[in-house]
């Protein structure tokens, strides 16, 4: 009924006594004669009454002090400046650290010409003189066994078109292909030093290589989480990626893989602690603290790491989940 709905719309005005005498009278008459509206009216009156339960709050005295201070009016009482720690400050500092770290990393690599894609033009003339193809003995052969390669990668070889192949997952052989002056495939066991070095090199320089269809980290996770293939250099390369890569998805993968690796060096521990303190991506921080929790349980954390965990747990503007994970890691500490 249109009359009822119009009537009900004016109930709040009835409550605030803002209606003129005539309208008030009309409304009350309607309420007396219409059961549903009477119900509505009762309900609204009750709600109105209950709203009075909200307490009147007293604004803190410091606002007054701040206000008067800001407009320059003298006050007799001591003005205590109210200081808040903005949450944004932590993040912007962290961002600065990441950018700096990323910047210097890139600067270091700009000494060699970096190409993402092969353009089809031979790049022989642009390869830096430091390239030692002889160290790889690849000029003549196309498929090389990792054992036959000098594990020391000298200079900064410009390698392209990197691909990973684990043709037979049941054997212990994996393969890594790339172009240097020719397309080369290096085969070997994951724990051959040359293979380790190559994998680490690819992982660290991947963002300048092509194609980006699959990430070296995925390969590393596949081949190196088996404890028998453990190698601290892989962990170190991952730590470098964690510190330097500007792609957050890549950093997440790096710390995730670090978590699963059986070996941990001092360097990787440092990388995890730095990631926990400074990485702007909370998912990275969550995984970093998970990795540290594992180390805590095996007694590998030093007092600096313990202090970092304590600070993290107590940090008000950190994500609560990261804080509770830090607390859990602390609880696992073995001397």
């Amino acid at each position: 009924m249109a009359e009822c709905s119009a009537m009900r719309e004016s109930f709040p005005l009835l409550l605030t006594e803002s209606l003129d005498a005539q309208s008030r009278e009309t409304a009350h008459q309607h309420i007396e004669s219409c059961a549903e509206c009477a119900d509505e009216w009762q309900g609204m009156k009750e709600a109105w009454r209950m709203m009075a339960e909200l307490p009147e709050l007293e604004p803190p005295a410091r606002i007054r002090q701040r206000f008067l201070a800001e407009i320059g009016v003298a006050e007799k009482t001591n003005v205590i400046p109210f200081m808040r720690r903005p949450a944004v400050k932590w993040l912007s500092q962290a961002a600065a650290v990441v950018i700096l770290a990323g910047g210097s990393y890139l600067a270091g690599h700009r000494t060699a010409p970096i190409r993402l894609q092969p353009t089809g033009v031979a790049n022989v003339e642009r390869l830096p003189a430091a390239i030692q193809p002889a160290a790889f003995s690849i000029a003549e052969t196309r498929t090389v066994n990792a054992n036959n390669i000098n594990p020391n990668i000298e200079g900064r070889p410009d390698i392209q078109n990197v691909q990973f192949n684990d043709a037979n997952p049941n054997d212990d052989q994996i393969a890594l292909s790339f172009d240097v002056t020719q397309h080369v495939t290096v085969t070997g066991a994951p724990n051959d030093k040359s293979m380790v070095r190559l994998m680490a090199y690819v992982m660290e320089n991947e963002d300048q290589m092509s194609p980006s269809r699959s990430r070296a980290i995925d390969w590393v996770k596949q081949a190196y989480t088996d404890p028998s293939n453990a190698d601290p250099e892989i962990a170190q390369a991952l730590a470098k990626v964690l510190r330097n890569d500007t792609h957050e998805g890549v950093r997440i993968k790096a710390v995730d893989t670090l978590k699963t690796l059986p070996t941990m060096t001092l360097d990787t521990r440092e990388a995890l602690i730095t990631a926990l303190k400074n990485d702007p991506n909370p998912a990275v921080r969550i995984k970093a603290v998970d990795a540290l929790a594992r180390l805590a349980a095996s007694g590998q954390l030093d007092s600096a790491a313990v202090d970092t965990l304590r600070q993290k747990a107590m940090q008000d503007d950190e994500n609560v989940y990261v804080r509770t994970k830090a607390a859990e890691a602390l609880g696992k500490i073995q001397p």
């Binding site: 009900r8 709040p12 605030t16 009750e46 109105w48 701040r66 206000f67 407009i71």
Partner: protein, 193 residues
Amino acid sequence: MNHLSDQELMRIVQAGDLSPASEIYDRYSGRIYNFAFRFLKNAEAAEDAVQEVFVKMIKHANQFHGDAKLSTWLFSITANWCRDYLRKADNRNKESEEVLISLPAPLEHGPDRTLEQRENEVRVQKALQALTPEQREAILLSRYQGLSYAEIAQIAGCSEGAVKTRVFRAMETLKKALTADTRGGDRWLNAVQ
């Protein structure tokens, strides 16, 4: 100072003398603070609101026309500030569950009365949060600050008819939340949030 009217105090400020500032602050800070707090449900933001509103009042004193009501003008500034605050996306989630609680010594007060009071307080706060910002603004100004629809329309920047609708819808929601058998009301509230 406290025998002078709002308009007289503002005239002194407009003339360049800031000494009435504390008197005006004392007259209105409570109302502004309570409005901002109930609207934003965040004590820190409410404090900022009060600060900014009164500073603006002094800095832009010349925008105040002597025949208007100071309260309307102050609430206008406050409502604008609160709307801007909410508009910033990350502020939308900062509503802290600030609940005033009182744990009296065991035998002091009749336990039932205070428990019921506390329960209602929580229910009202939750119900207010279930309103749209426009409805909340309208009902807070009407119910707690006693402003007329004409004044609220001026503050909200809409027509009186729109205010009437907002207040009505707000009361409908509050009625549903506060008066249904208590369990039903809560379940509904929890589902809504």
